[in-house]
Each structure stands twice: as structure tokens, then as C-alpha cells.
């Protein structure tokens, strides 16, 4: 199986022209049928347009004039002439409709394709990548940038379709008179020259705009995420200023782009007109010199007016290209990002029955991240150093350490949310990196320190599987999640969440707002615990997962866990002695290192830091009693 790292780069390489052609080529290749229909429709449209002018001329000379001058044209042919014009109008209209509809479908499919690719990356890239990229920016990549990247495909079929018109008109012009023809045809290279100048100005300007769009989206996203803090401190004015500043920069960037576009479009429109005048002027002198006849001049001038429209269509495409290229670049930066945690292929539980707890070994685990020294120069910092301990199957271990000691980093490594920079984590004796993803997530459940709740039903939040949807006859069809309502309720009961869920208006089917906004902090946490329990994991990790529940409930949860967990291996990050008391042994972590490991009683006896930490409440109480 090829790893995702082997995919070809999505970014376009080479010079501006090559990149433009690649962009267009790839887009068309991705939707060949759609674009073919659009281009053919565009050809029909172009022919219809020319034909209607040509037919009108023929009719004027052949029908209208003779009829009015009384040369006895039959009424039938007058009606036929009208019908002919209507028919051409109808064909042209169908051409236009099909061209636009299919160009739209093509452009929107290219856009949707980019969105799917980008969002796949969001799910695939590791947490370390996510922490480096602001959420609002990522939103903008999936939205404004994907849209920009597909933008050029809307006018493209139009331009490609009428290319035929340009070629035919060009050949006809040169055939009429080479000199005049060259003046006429020179419009095309001129368009390209103008475009090259335009691109030079436009590319940086549009890059700035797309960047600034992302900045504005990011300020808005962050600010709305922070709404509670903004309210709490009454800093609405400050946020408004921050957003206004970002938006003003965007406005200026947009105006700068608008200025360039405001020059480019009229200049492109100007070229065929100027060429026409040139043909007339040169033509007149050549006629006077007797080199050509007047017919050639008039034909060339007419053909140039026919070319005005296609040239404008090409102008649309050229005008949109820089934006699409920039959008494509920005999207590619996400799509080409690498550094996945490679997926292993070994199965867990080949050797060990899967209803037994997982054996966990950490061997010299270190985590190193880019950081700064006191002078601000880039260096690296160790979040974890040489962490070694083992948890036999079915045992419970408490990880204890002060704020910022590295406990969450440690459990992240254990659950393989990140890979260690050195050392190994082993599940049942096998390197965690060699285990297939599905096996790992099936065997290990981590209840993170901050509970995250999806905008979904209670059931969906617990099972994280697709809803059971009723089929046509209203019978529920299992979509493979395999969890019954009883199982959901049982998990909720152990997490002490059954009570409040039962009180919700639709029970398990109640939809919880985004981020669980309609629940209390403790309720969210309990939902997250139920989510872990229902999976019957072989290794359960609770990262301070009961911090927002009261002591009575916490005791009940822990008691339920002990009863139901059976052979599960459990890792608890905890401070309270009662919680620690559940553990067979304790690992004391400080500053990313294991200070000591052993039973609670052992550590109390020999580890001063540990004693200080877990007896802090007691000491506080005593101090207060003394003070009273």
C-alpha cells in the first residue's frame, strides 16, 4: 500500500505560463465530460452569434430590400427569414444555457474537489501541524481559497469555445490581405503582452488579498470562540478595533486589486477597437496606392468586430487566472503538507485475547519540540525526557505531577496522538508505530482534559458512529456502529450521565449545540467519559477527566469504573488521593521526567515533592484551622 507521503505534489511548478496551463489542464482533466459539453456548447454559441450577423446581412440584401422595393418577394419567404433568425436565436440560447450550466458544474466540482482534499488533510495531519495553523486560516483555505482556485473554470469553456472563432476570423483576415490581416491578428499577441504586465502587478496583489481574507476569517473565528472572555472583560470595543484593523487592510488590498483590474479590462476591450482603426487607416492608404481593393478592407474590419467578443472572453480568463493560481497555491500548501504519523499494519491482539487489558511499556520516551532560548534564538525544548515505565495488563496506574509537568504530553504519546522523538511506546510488546490505526483506536480510549462535544445527538456523541436511520418503511437500519441503546445507557450510567440525559427533552436523540453549549461543564465531561467507556477499550486513559464534577459524582464514577472495568488497563492523571487510591501504582512526573514510581504509600514516604503535591489540601486545611 503506498503511503500518503508518496502522492505527487498538488502544487504547480514552473513559470507563470506553465503553471497556468497546468492548472487549466488538470482542472479539465478532472471533469472531462462536463468541460467537453461546456466547450462544445460554447462553440455552438459562437457559431450562432456569427451566423446571426451573417444571416441578417443576407436577409437584408436578399429579402427585405427587394420586398420593400417591390420586386415581388413572397410573404412566405419573409416569414421564413424571420423564422430563420428566431431559430438561430434559439440555437444560440441553448448553447449559452448549456455552456453556463456545465461550466458552472465544472467549476463547482473543481472547487468541491479541492475542499474534499483539504479537509481530508485536516483529518490526516497530526496535532502538531494543527497547533501551528490557526483555525480561521484553515477555514479560509477550505472556503475562499478553494473557491478562488476553481474560479477560472467558470469563463474558461467560453474562451476555449470561441477560440475557433478567433482562428477562423484570423485566417480569413490574412487571406483577405496579409498586411491588414497581420494588423488584425496582432490583437492576440498584444493581449498576451498586456496580460503579462497585468500578471506582474496582479499576482502579488491578489496573494495579499487571499492572505488577508484568511487573516480576517481568523480574527473573526478566534474572536467568536473567545466570546465568553470578551463579554467577561467587556472588551467588545477592543475586539471591534482588532477586526476593523484586519478588515481595513483587506479593504485596501481589495481596492489595490480593483485598481489593477480597472485598468486591465478596458485595455483589453480597447485592443480590437484600435486594431480596427489601424486596419481602416492603413487600408485606406493601401487602397489609394492601389494595392488592395476596398472589399478586403471592409471584410477585415468586419472580422475584427467579430473578434471583439472572443477577445473579451479570453480577457475574462486571463483576468481570473492570477486569483485562481494564488488560491491553488494556498490550497496546495495544505494538501502537500507532510508529516503524517505513518500508519502501521500490524494487528493488535494477534497474540493476546482482546478481552484482556493492554500491556503498555514506555522505553526511554522523549518528546522534543522547537522552542526558543532566553534570547529568543530558536532551539529545542524537551517536554519529556527518558520516560520509562511499564503497566502490566489489567493494572491501574496514576500519573501525578504538578501543573505543566508533562502529563498530558505523556498520555498523548501513549495514545499515539503524537510520536515520541526518541524511545518507544509498546502495546502488548509491539512498537505503537507498527500497529494499524483502527486497531489502536479500537483498543485505546483517551478522555482528554478538556471535553470536546460535537454538534450532534447525545447518542452520536457517545457512539461517534452514524445515526441509525429509519429506512423507507420506518424500520431502523443499523449503519454498522453496532451499539445498542442499552449499551449507550449503560455507558452513560457508569459515567453518571444517565440522569441528566434522561431529563433532556428527546433523551438520547436530543441534539446538543455546537461545543455542547447547552450542557454544564460537568455534564460535558461525563458525556466524554461515556464515549470512552462504551468502546470497552483495553486501555482507558483518563486525563484529569473528572475535574469538573463534584466529589460525590466523582466517587460514583470511579466506583462504577472499578466494577465494570474488569481487566482493563487504566491510566489516570489525578491529584486527589481517593482517585490515586484506585491505582495499583503511581508514576510521579515533574518537568518531563519520571521522578519516582511505586505505590502511593511508598511515594508518600520517600518522595518529598509527591508528598507536598498530594497533601496540599490537607495542609491548607490545617493552616486555616490554625488561623481560626
Amino acid at each position: 500500500m503506498p503511503s500518503p507521503d508518496d502522492r505527487p505534489l498538488h502544487a504547480l511548478s514552473g513559470g507563470a505560463v506553465r503553471r497556468s496551463l497546468l492548472l487549466i489542464g488538470r482542472g479539465i482533466a478532472s471533469q472531462p465530460r462536463t468541460f467537453t459539453i461546456a466547450i462544445v456548447a460554447s462553440v455552438v454559441y459562437g457559431i450562432g452569434l456569427v451566423a446571426s450577423g451573417w444571416l441578417l446581412g443576407r436577409i437584408t440584401d436578399g429579402v427585405v430590400l427587394p420586398a420593400i422595393e417591390g420586386s415581388g418577394v413572397s410573404t412566405g419567404s419573409i416569414w421564413l427569414a424571420g423564422l430563420g433568425l428566431l431559430l438561430i436565436g434559439a440555437v444560440t440560447a441553448v448553447g449559452v444555457a448549456l455552456r453556463r450550466i456545465y461550466a458552472g458544474i465544472g467549476a463547482l466540482d473543481v472547487q468541491a474537489g479541492h475542499r474534499r482534499a483539504v479537509t481530508r488533510q485536516y483529518l490526516r495531519l497530526p496535532m502538531t501541524w494543527h497547533r501551528r495553523h490557526p483555525a480561521g486560516q484553515l477555514l479560509s483555505n477550505a472556503n475562499a481559497d478553494a473557491e478562488a482556485a476553481g474560479g477560472v473554470f467558470m469563463p474558461l469553456p467560453f474562451a476555449l469555445g470561441v477560440l475557433v472563432m478567433i482562428i477562423v476570423a484570423g485566417v480569413a483576415m490574412i487571406a483577405a490581405d496579409p498586411v491588414l490581416g497581420i494588423i488584425g491578428v496582432s490583437v492576440l499577441p498584444l493581449v498576451l503582452v498586456v496580460n503579462a504586465v497585468y500578471r506582474n502587478y496582479m499576482s502579488p496583489a491578489i496573494t495579499h488579498v487571499q492572505h488577508q481574507r484568511a487573516v480576517v476569517a481568523d480574527v473573526a473565528h478566534e474572536s467568536f470562540e473567545a466570546a465568553a472572555v470578551v463579554k467577561a472583560l467587556g472588551t467588545e470595543d477592543f475586539e471591534e478595533r482588532r477586526f476593523a484593523a484586519a478588515s481595513r487592510t483587506l479593504r485596501d488590498a481589495n481596492i489595490a486589486v480593483g485598481r489593477i483590474r480597472s485598468v486591465f479590462d478596458p485595455v483589453i476591450d480597447l485592443l480590437p477597437g484600435l486594431a480596427t482603426l489601424g486596419v481602416l487607416a492603413v487600408g485606406a492608404t493601401r487602397v489609394a496606392a492601389g494595392v488592395v481593393d476596398t472589399g478586403a478592407v471592409i471584410t477585415t474590419a468586419y472580422l475584427l468586430t467579430v473578434m471583439t467578443f472572443p477577445v473579451r472572453a479570453i480577457g475574462f480568463v486571463l483576468g481570473d487566472l492570477p486569483r485562481s493560481l494564488v488560491g491553488h497555491d494556498r490550497v496546495s500548501r495544505v494538501i502537500d503538507a507532510r508529516g503524517y504519523l505513518g500508519a502501521g499494519r500490524h494487528r493488535l491482539g494477534d497474540a493476546v485475547p482482546t478481552d484482556e487489558g493492554l500491556r503498555l511499556d514506555l522505553d526511554g520516551v522523549g518528546v522534543r519540540v522547537p522552542s526558543h532560548d532566553a534570547d529568543g534564538a530558536a532551539t529545542e525544548a524537551d517536554l519529556l525526557t527518558d520516560v520509562t515505565f511499564s503497566v502490566p495488563a489489567g493494572r491501574t496506574v496514576a500519573i501525578v505531577g504538578s501543573t505543566g509537568a508533562g502529563k498530558s504530553t505523556l498520555v498523548d504519546v501513549i495514545a499515539r496522538l503524537r510520536d515520541p522523538s526518541s524511545g518507544v511506546v509498546r502495546y502488548d510488546g509491539r512498537d505503537a508505530r507498527e500497529i494499524a490505526d483502527a486497531d489502536r483506536t479500537g483498543a485505546i480510549a483517551l478522555v482528554a482534559q478538556s471535553a470536546f462535544v460535537f454538534e450532534d445527538t447525545v447518542r452520536g456523541n457517545v457512539t461517534l458512529a452514524d445515526e441509525v436511520e429509519p429506512d423507507g418503511e420506518g424500520l431502523p437500519v443499523s449503519t454498522g456502529s453496532g451499539y445498542t441503546d442499552e449499551q449507550v445507557w449503560a455507558a452513560l450510567a457508569i459515567a453518571q450521565a444517565d440522569g441528566f440525559v434522561a431529563a433532556l427533552p428527546d433523551g438520547l436523540d436530543t441534539v446538543i449545540g455546537e461545543r455542547g453549549a447547552s450542557l454544564s461543564g460537568g455534564q460535558r465531561q461525563r458525556l466524554a467519559i461515556a464515549r470512552a467507556l462504551i468502546r470497552r477499550p483495553r486501555l482507558l486513559i483518563l486525563d484529569d477527566a473528572t475535574s469538573a464534577v463534584d466529589p460525590l459524582v466523582e466517587q460514583a464514577i470511579l466506583a462504577g469504573l472499578r466494577r465494570s472495568a474488569g481487566d482493563v488497563t487504566v491510566i489516570l492523571v489525578a491529584y486527589r488521593t481517593a482517585t490515586i487510591g484506585l491505582a495499583d501504582s503511581v508514576v510521579h512526573v515533574e518537568r518531563g521526567r519520571v521522578v519516582d514510581a511505586g505505590t502511593h504509600a511508598d511515594l508518600l514516604g520517600r518522595d518529598r515533592g509527591y508528598r507536598r503535591l498530594v497533601t496540599a489540601y490537607q495542609r491548607g486545611r490545617e493552616e486555616r484551622e490554625v488561623a481560626r
Binding site: 420593400i68 465568553a228 498530558s408 455546537e514 484529569d544
Partner: protein, 600 residues
């Protein structure tokens, strides 16, 4: 205006119900800058358009009187005419550029106003209102929904006016040649005039759906980004991807549909142009045979028909673009028109001098919108100035709700909350926010340094001030472990710090805000006991004499309080000093016993 009726709505409508004209009017009212200099711009645009017409005429003239001149080619005349036409072309192009620049500038200035207005309004809405809307969707309202409008205001609006002018001008000219044929032309376009309102309505709905889908899509994507860790730990990637693919697909389908409608509307204009041309040829010829129309007249008329149909087609285009813009506009306007549920008092009452403040709840009842039963019932509570209060109770009992009422994140259904005897609803919001500060249960750090976060909203405090404040709070040792000290970046949502460290920063931030009343909602729930003890003691000393309300599951906080409030199922069931409650042997005594056994 309805924007000041309190409590009528707790959600932002997905879109406003204004009609097209109403939307335009409301939109322009929100963006006055869009109209600046519009008269001059219009005049220039008329010039530019007229300039574009001059050229074909000059070409015609050059051919007729210059090249085809009876006495052979008049080269001098041709060159002169070409020179004049070239000047005309350049002048028209210059005018067009100038018009476009002016339009861009006015449009962008107007959209800036709209964006900022909508953004601000989201913040002014209560937290509840914000919660009913997805973050990603709210972001789309101030970004892509606004962008949708820009195409129309930069180009469409002016184009529409010009098209109408051109249509009117061509009609007058046509009438000059033949009123019968003019009627024929208008009759040919009659189906369009009849069907246009229906088509516009369909487009309106179609584009509205597109905007909704964009919002929904961004909501889903935002969730997958912010919830990345949970998704990874549960292997829920495939499912999340399916949910996003679904939203992306739904947006694509809606957009294709709208696009198809617009294409059909536009192509019907092309079809009817063909009809008009055919009809004019037939009727014109018949009129000519009857002698009602000269050949020259008919030829001129045929030229005018083409001048007429051009703007009709571009007007159809603009009307499509208009519906697209209206769809975006409506979503932005519906934000701005959502009534504020937390409003400024008409006449603010001063709430006494700054310093220790008393708080009381008088018979307060509160129900969350959409909930059947109240979460808080008849709360009566008096907190004396300078008291240290602890609020405890089961999860979900209503503690956070109590704190939100205390800080006026929302207003009670019945009863009142008072600061120094003044109803919170009568205190100017800025005054209230500076007197009562809360550290919310779900803290949030900005992607900035520690100093930036602690001094958030207080640009007058510099890094040294922040370091000093952290020192006073007993966090100097922690700060010393960070190589960059207060200049350490906290990362996205503060995720480069540990959960406990994030809480420390949030507390320091509230401490610096220097309020009369400090409300801490589980502010130290993730901090280790030793640090918690240290910071609570430091905070108690530093805010000596101030009022503080702390919600905590760790009863160490309650042990240190002057007054303990026990909340159960939305009611205050016990109230008194720690020792008295323990002695009373009720709910609190039981909780405390559990706590002692759990923490020793």
C-alpha cells in the same frame, strides 16, 4: 426600532425575511459609504458607455464616406476620422477605468462598514444567542456572505442603471423611427417581463440556500479543526470526513442549482432577442411593403434593436447577480437586526463608588430559551460587600447559570440581580463590566504571548507589569521555567500551554482587570493542589476587601470562604459559613465528608 426590545429573541435568524428592495435599502443604510460620490460616478459611467457607442458609428462613417467615397478613397478624411475615434476610444477607456476605481473604492468602504457592524453585533448579542449559531457559520456571515455582495455593488448596481438608461434611450430612438415596430420589440420581451418575478423568486430561494449551505459547511469544518484531538483519539476521522463531505456536497448541489437557474434566465434573454429580431424583420418588411416605413428607417431600426437587446441581456445578468448579493446581504442583515437581549439602560444609574460591592439576588428565576423548566428557582441571596463566597453543588445544579446572571450575560425571567442595590439592568454595561469580572469555566486564550493574554484588553500594561503581576500571584517560579518568560507564545487557543497553565493565565488576566467583584467559575479546576493553594492565598490577599464569588468542586475553596452557598437542582438549599454548614449535617456536610476522604 425593534433592535432594542429585550428578550424577544435568543437566536439569530438564518436569514432576514426582507424583500429584495427592503434588503437593498437596509443594506445601503448599513453601508452609507457605498453611496459616496455616486452622482459623479454615474455621470462618468454614462460618458464611458456613450464612448463605446461612438466607435462603431465612426467606423461606419469612415467606411461610407471615406473608403467608399464616390471619388475614390479620401485618405485624409479616413486618417482624421480614425484619429478622432482613437481619441474617443482612449477617453472612454479612461472613463471606464476611473468609474471602476471609484466603484471599487465606494463598494469596499461600504462593505467594510457592514462587516465591522455585523461583527460587533455578534459580540453585543448575549452569549446564549451566540451559542445557537455555529462559530464557522458566524464567521461566514462576516466573511464570505459579505464577499458575495461585493460583485454586485462593484459592478452590477451601476450596470443595472446603465442598462436601464440604454434601454430607455434605445426605446425613444426606436419610437422615432416606428412606433409599431417598437411595440413589436417590447411584445417580444413580454414573456420575460411576465415571468421575471417568478424566476427572480426561484433564484432568490436558490441563492439563499447556497448561503445557508456555506454556513453549515464552515460549521462542520470548524468542528473538525477544533475537535481534531478528540477525532483522532477515537478514530472518528472517517465519520467526520463523511459529515464534511456531505456538507461540501450539499453546498455544491445548491450552487449548481442556483447556477442553472441563472443560466436559464440569461439564455431566455438570448432567445427573446432572436425573437425580437425575427419579428422586426417580418413586421418591418410588411410595413415597408405597405409604405409605412422606408428602407433606411428599417435598416436604422434593425441597428437599434441590437443596441436594445444588449442591455436587456446584461440586465438579466445583473438581476441574477443581485439575487446572489441579496442572499448574502440578508444573512448579514439578519445578524445586525437580531434584537439585543442585553441592552444598555436608557438612563444608567450610578452603582455607588468603586470598591467593595454588595450583591443580591431577589427572587430570581431563570429559564434557558427552549427549555421547558427553569434552571434556577426563586433565588434569594445577599452577598455583603467584601465577602468571600463559595458556591458549591452538584454538576448541572445551576452554579454557572448563577454566575452568568451575576455578570449579566443574560437577564433573569423574574426578579432582579443587584449591585449595591442597583438593578444590573440599570447600570451602564461598560461600568458593569469593569466592576464585575468573571473567569469563565471554559477559558480561552488568544494566539499571542502570555503577556499579551494577561494584559488582554489593557494595552496600558506592559510585559514588566504582567511579570510583576504574575510574581504577586505566586507564579514567579512557574514563569521562571519558561525560557521566554512572559514572551512565551501560548499557541492556538493556548494549546502550547498545559491546561492548568492556561487557567493560571486566565486568572492573572482577571486579576489585572482590577474589578470590585471577581467571579471565578471553576477557575482552578485543572491546577495542581499545591499551586492552587498558593494562588488562592495570593489572590485572597491581593483582593483583600473585594467581593469574590468562587464556584468550585474542590471544597478547599469553600473551606476558605466566609459564606458557602449550596445549590441543588436550581435552588439554594443551604447557606452559611463553612463550619456552621458542616455542623448542620446536611447536603454540604455530606459533600465535605466525601471531599475529605477523597483528598486525604
Amino acid at each position: 426600532m425593534s433592535a432594542t426590545t429585550p428578550g424577544t429573541s435568543a437566536r439569530i435568524e438564518s436569514t432576514s425575511s426582507l424583500g429584495v428592495l427592503g434588503t437593498l435599502r437596509a443594506g445601503l443604510a448599513l453601508s452609507p459609504a457605498m453611496r459616496t460620490g455616486i452622482g459623479v460616478t454615474l455621470a462618468l459611467a454614462v460618458l464611458a458607455t456613450a464612448g463605446r457607442l461612438i466607435v462603431p458609428i465612426v467606423v461606419q462613417q469612415t467606411t461610407d464616406v471615406g473608403i467608399l467615397a464616390p471619388g475614390g478613397v479620401d485618405v485624409g478624411l479616413v486618417l482624421r476620422l480614425c484619429g478622432i475615434a482613437a481619441v474617443g476610444l482612449f477617453a472612454a477607456a479612461a472613463c471606464t477605468t476611473w468609474v471602476n476605481v471609484r466603484l471599487f473604492r465606494a463598494a469596499e468602504a461600504g462593505l467594510l462598514q457592514l462587516r465591522v457592524r455585523a461583527f460587533r453585533h455578534v459580540h453585543d448579542l448575549s452569549v446564549l444567542t451566540q451559542n445557537t449559531e455555529r462559530r464557522g457559520s458566524l464567521v461566514s456571515r462576516v466573511t464570505s456572505d459579505v464577499d458575495t455582495i461585493s460583485l454586485f455593488v462593484q459592478w452590477g448596481g451601476m450596470q443595472l442603471v446603465l442598462s436601464v438608461l440604454q434601454i430607455a434611450g434605445a426605446t425613444v430612438a426606436m419610437l422615432f423611427y416606428s412606433w409599431q415596430l417598437t411595440i413589436v420589440v417590447w411584445l417580444a420581451f413580454a414573456p420575460m417581463i411576465v415571468l421575471a418575478p417568478k424566476a427572480q423568486k426561484a433564484l432568490n430561494v436558490a441563492y439563499g440556500t447556497v448561503r445557508l449551505r456555506v454556513g453549515a459547511m464552515l460549521g462542520r469544518i470548524s468542528e473538525s479543526i477544533v475537535g481534531a484531538q478528540t477525532i483522532r483519539s477515537y478514530g472518528a476521522g472517517a465519520r467526520t470526513q463523511r459529515r464534511m463531505d456531505e456538507a461540501i456536497g450539499e453546498h455544491r448541489d445548491a450552487a449548481v442549482r442556483a447556477q442553472a437557474f441563472a443560466s436559464l434566465a440569461f439564455s431566455s434573454g438570448v432567445l427573446l432577442s432572436g425573437l425580437a429580431l425575427g419579428a422586426v424583420v417580418v413586421v418591418g418588411t410588411l410595413l415597408g411593403i405597405d409604405g409605412d416605413l422606408t428602407v433606411g428607417g428599417l435598416l436604422a431600426f434593425l441597428f437599434l434593436v441590437q443596441i436594445f437587446t444588449g442591455p436587456v441581456q446584461s440586465a438579466t445578468e445583473v438581476l441574477n447577480e443581485l439575487q446572489n448579493a441579496v442572499a448574502g446581504w440578508r444573512r448579514v442583515i439578519s445578524v445586525v437586526h437580531t434584537p439585543l437581549d442585553i441592552t444598555e439602560p436608557d438612563e444608567p444609574t450610578p452603582a455607588g463608588p468603586r470598591g467593595p460591592a454588595a450583591l443580591d439576588f431577589a427572587d430570581v428565576t431563570y429559564t434557558y430559551p427552549g427549555s421547558a423548566a427553569p434552571v434556577l428557582h426563586d433565588i434569594e441571596l445577599a452577598i455583603p460587600a467584601g465577602a468571600r463566597v463559595a458556591v458549591v453543588g452538584e454538576t448541572g445544579s445551576g452554579k454557572t447559570t448563577l454566575a452568568k446572571l451575576l455578570t449579566r450575560m443574560m437577564d433573569p425571567d423574574a426578579g432582579s440581580v443587584r449591585l449595591n442595590g442597583v438593578d444590573l439592568r440599570d447600570i451602564a454595561l461598560a461600568d458593569l463590566r469593569s466592576r464585575v469580572v468573571i473567569v469563565p469555566q471554559e477559558g480561552f486564550l488568544f494566539d499571542d504571548t502570555i503577556a499579551g493574554n494577561v494584559a488582554y484588553g489593557r494595552p496600558d500594561t506592559d510585559a514588566d507589569g504582567v511579570a510583576a503581576a504574575l510574581e504577586r500571584l505566586g507564579l514567579g517560579d512557574w514563569l521562571a521555567t519558561l525560557p521566554l518568560g512572559v514572551h512565551t507564545d501560548v499557541g492556538q487557543r493556548g494549546e502550547a500551554l498545559s491546561a492548568g497553565e492556561r487557567q493560571l493565565v486566565a486568572i492573572a488576566r482577571a486579576y489585572l482587570a482590577d474589578a470590585d467583584v471577581l467571579v471565578l467559575d471553576e477557575a482552578t479546576s485543572a491546577v495542581d493542589p499545591a499551586t492552587e493553594h498558593r494562588i488562592s492565598r495570593a489572590l485572597a490577599e491581593l483582593t483583600q476587601g473585594r467581593t469574590s464569588v468562587a464556584i468550585a468542586h474542590r471544597l478547599s475553596t469553600a473551606e476558605a470562604a466566609d459564606l458557602v452557598v449550596v445549590v441543588d437542582a436550581g435552588r439554594i438549599v443551604e447557606l452559611g459559613p463553612h463550619t456552621a454548614l458542616v455542623a448542620a449535617g446536611g447536603v454540604y456536610a455530606r459533600m465535605h465528608a466525601t471531599w475529605i476522604s477523597a483528598s486525604e
